[in-house]
Amino acid sequence: MRLVVDLNKCQGYAQCAFLAPDVFAMHGEESLVYDPQPDHEQRERLARAVAACPVQAITADGVDGHGASRGQEAPHGH
């Protein structure tokens, strides 16, 4: 699974940090830090975070098990 957050869009609502705290964390008042390649066991939590983001700033692959993502074949995929 790979993810990227468009931090131009991100407004610091922190929904992702509540739903997937091992992937996303607030850093200061409104900055976000995240792990761009979380372990596969985070998949469901990550999917919920992607869906819950009020500004749809998170792009992830390998999360929903279909589509054109290459996440499953990434050399570092777990």
């Binding site: 468009d6 200061g28 409104e30 054109a68 290459r70 570092h76």
Partner: protein, 463 residues
């Protein structure tokens, strides 16, 4: 191309993309998403699949992300031929061929150039080679620097207080590592945000224990007998002992491989029209060569049609999408690249974001909040119009100001705003340095009207 011709090109044409980072990848995905089924080749000088760079100076240095695990997620399958780890070394426009460092050639019908920028190296090579001296642009750079930070250096010395330099300093302080930052200008971030906001950034750094030295340049890096860096010499004749030095002097555009190609490419990037088509050196549009990302400079209608070079993550994505769309469309279906410039930086616990083109502004008004409290919005004005805004920990207001910029709303801002302070009723000079003077390299460069204009060339420090 006539429609029939274009249909055929979309079916069985050959597209080469030089540059396999954010812009190259998103362009490839857009081409496939919009129905290009021909041959697609991606050429990249680094041996890695496209990866994301912003985390390298932030979460990676804090140990929150692995430098080798920031590959970008894919929006879709792109079915491309990858040529990774081999740089493009030349372009034959007439024959439609890209030459590669390994001697191979890639033929194309249409070409997208997204070669980006690289970190400006320390100019004295023997000093740059000292152990402990780092640049920060690639994931290998970040991995090396992170390893050294983990080992607990006595002091890190950062040369240049642009965004990257400030972010490195922030990551050091957060881990309790002593850090000195040297900046030629009077404050950090002046090239991007001007002296007033730079002053706020300077206070922020000092409050967090950074030894910030402004209006100085580094004259020499001193090594020990084993070839490790041990001290930094400054123009005020002071000497700072440091075992890690991060050279953060902005970037150099990767255009050398186009020397002699006939394209309008140089130190300022590759000039292109709003449809992302490259100019040749005569100022005539090529129809088969497109440009996107950090290496492009293109006219923007909202900003007086000035040619803008934008080293912004969001610009790379948006311009790549537009370029890819235009590569497989005929005239009337083409779109202009009209992206609103925007960027972010995270440092010393504060989220700094901007929209528009701050260096275009002569004046600045703090319209909401207060700089002393480190939570505010500042608005930049140029010739009576709002042209940019910056926020410190106040990002939710930026959308409002983005629309103000798009509508060309008047400056000074007369209407009431939430949390306007009495001392902020009038604009103040934004205090940008003279653009003809060298700085660490602002992230936005206004480079004049003419695609052939190369007068504003960075001159490295003379020592």
């Amino acid at each position: 191309m006539a429609t029939e011709h274009m249909d055929r090109f979309r079916r069985e044409g050959r597209i080469a993309i030089v540059g396999a980072s954010l812009a190259g990848l998103r362009a490839a995905e857009t081409l496939r998403a919009e129905g290009f089924t021909g041959e697609l080749t991606l050429i990249g000088d680094e041996p890695y699949e496209p990866y994301d760079r912003p985390p390298l100076s932030k979460s990676v240095l804090l140990g929150r992300a692995d430098p080798h695990r920031t590959e970008l997620p894919r929006r879709r399958e792109i079915d491309a031929k990858w040529r990774l780890g081999v740089a493009a070394t030349g372009l034959d426009l007439t024959a439609g061929r890209v030459r590669l460092a390994d001697g191979d050639e890639v033929e194309y019908d249409r070409l997208l150039i997204a070669t980006g920028v690289r970190a400006r190296p320390w100019p004295k090579e023997p000093e740059a080679r000292l152990d402990g001296v780092f640049l920060l642009r690639t994931r290998d750079d970040a991995a090396g620097l992170y390893q050294r930070l983990r080992a607990g250096p006595r002091r890190v010395f950062v040369i240049g207080a642009g965004f990257a330099g400030c972010e490195v300093a922030s990551a050091c302080r957060e881990q309790g590592i002593p850090v000195t930052v040297a900046e030629r200008a009077g404050a950090p971030l002046v090239g991007a945000l001007g002296g007033v906001i730079g002053g706020v950034a300077a206070d922020l750094m000092r409050e967090h224990g950074v030894d910030l030295r402004t209006r100085v340049t580094v004259t020499a890096l001193e090594g020990d007998g084993a070839g490790r860096v041990r001290a930094v010499h400054l123009s005020d004749e002071s000497v700072v002992e440091a075992d890690v030095v991060v050279v953060s002097l902005g970037s150099v555009r990767n255009t050398e491989w186009l020397d002699g190609s006939g394209l309008g490419a140089g130190p300022r990037g590759i000039a292109c029209d709003a449809g992302c088509r490259a100019f040749d050196f005569r100022g005539i549009i090529t129809d088969d060569v497109f440009v996107a990302g950090d290496v492009a400079r293109s006219p923007h209608a909202l900003f007086g049609y000035q040619f803008l070079s934008l080293e912004h993550w969001g610009n790379a994505v948006a311009q790549a999408e537009t370029a890819a769309h235009n590569m497989i469309c005929d005239g009337a279906d083409r779109r202009p690249h009209l992206w609103m410039p925007a960027f972010w930086s995270s440092q010393f616990g504060v989220n700094i974001k901007s929209v528009g083109v701050p260096p275009m502004g002569e004046e600045l008004m703090i319209t909401q909040g207060s700089t002393a409290e480190r939570r505010f919005v500042g608005v930049y004005g140029h010739k009576g119009r709002v042209v940019a805004a910056v926020s410190f920990d106040d990002t939710r207001w930026l959308e409002f100001y983005r629309r103000a910029i798009e509508r060309g709303e008047p400056f000074p801002v007369e209407y009431p705003t939430l949390d306007r302070r009495p001392e902020n009723r009038r604009p103040v000079p934004a205090d940008f340095p003279d653009p003809s003077l060298p700085t660490h390299g602002p992230m936005v460069t206004l480079s004049g009207y003419s695609p052939a204009d190369t007068q504003l060339v960075f001159h490295p420090a003379r020592h």
